[in-house]
């Protein structure tokens, strides 16, 4: 599971007011290289919740990868693009869990797949 996917996911447990972002417990993280597309990165940047991405990178063992805050002017820097690309698309959580920020309920991640199915009493 990439951090781009984490940036999309929210806890939908009944009663939860704001289930985003989910916490991440990372037990196994792998990095897979993919080609960098500056065009894609510039297009997706305004849609990304930056705080969640920074927290994600930290949870995955890369606390210094991204600046705490970012704005569109940084997209002109190749160094920034590389870091953004690495965090968003190259780091993968293979084993671990996502954690609801309000209830603490864990959604396990196995073989890179998070189980987001809700129990009957959570719907």
């Amino acid at each position: 599971m990439r951090l781009l996917t984490h940036n999309m996911l929210s806890s939908n447990i009944r009663g939860v007011v704001n289930g985003f972002p989910l916490g991440i417990e990372a037990e196994k993280v792998v990095e897979r290289e993919v080609e960098l597309s500056a065009e894609f990165l510039r297009g997706v940047f305004p849609k990304i919740e930056w705080g969640a991405l920074v927290a994600g990178a930290r949870a995955l063992g890369h606390p210094d990868l991204l600046p705490g805050e970012a704005d569109a002017s940084m997209l002109a820097s190749d160094d920034f693009l590389r870091r953004f690309h690495r965090a968003l698309l190259q780091l993968h959580v293979e084993e671990g869990a996502l954690v609801c920020p309000e209830t603490g309920r864990r959604f396990p991640i196995n073989k890179g797949i998070p189980n987001m199915l809700l129990h009957e009493d959570e719907v």
Partner: protein
């Protein structure tokens, strides 16, 4: 990539070994899948460089096709863990990176506007009434560019008249969906079902 090449690659994918009738699991064959995604890309530029979500991905055929045609990030969602296992294997075999999510469609909260395009071959609602509508509503909530979906041609009037809150709804073409003899209630060896490829703009 040429259409024929894409169709060929998709033909090598593994399909459901023990399909579950209550989930309406039918493989999206390479003929239909390749044409669907190829059209989305070449006529509308909705795949390459985009974030694509495959709702009810099953064995991952549409997600894999999207990846092969240049989607930047593909997410496949399904409720059945056995299908997800097959889908993971398929993605690995074709060396495409797809993020799978084990979830039902109704209760998954995906934060828009990160998803550009939703592609799907949803349940038609023959087992669980209204599931096709459920899928369509969720897809339109999530997608920012377009939703591509297959529905039986016999339901064309009904689908067109429904107000999903979409800006536009268009049948792009009619395709033949060959349903192999998968379930005990299937009497014929193979049957052709006419399906419409719909494009909805949210």
């Amino acid at each position: 990539m040429k259409l024929k090449h894409l169709e060929g690659l998709l033909g090598d994918l593994q399909q459901f070994s023990n399909p579950k009738v209550e989930l309406e699991q039918y493989p999206t064959g390479p003929h239909i899948a390749s044409r669907m995604i190829y059209t989305a890309e070449n006529s509308f530029d909705d795949i390459s460089g985009k974030v694509v979500a495959d709702f009810g991905c099953g064995c991952g055929t549409l997600g894999v096709a999207s990846s092969l045609l240049g989607a930047e990030h593909v997410v496949g969602i399904d409720i059945d863990p056995q299908s997800l296992e097959i889908a993971s294997q398929n993605a690995e075999d074709l060396e495409v990176g797809i993020n799978f999510i084990w979830s039902d469609i109704k209760n998954l909260k995906l934060r828009g506007p990160l998803v550009d395009t939703v592609v799907m071959n949803p349940p038609f609602g023959t087992r669980k009434k209204g599931s096709d509508m459920e899928f369509l509503c969720m897809a339109l909530k999530v997608a920012s560019r377009a939703v591509y979906s297959l529905h039986k041609t016999t339901t064309r009037e009904r689908t067109a008249l429904r107000d999903y809150g979409a800006k536009s709804a268009e049948v792009l073409c009619e395709l033949r969906f060959d349903v192999p003899q998968l379930y005990k209630f299937h009497k014929k060896k193979e049957v052709d079902v006419a399906v419409d490829l719909w494009r909805f703009v949210p």
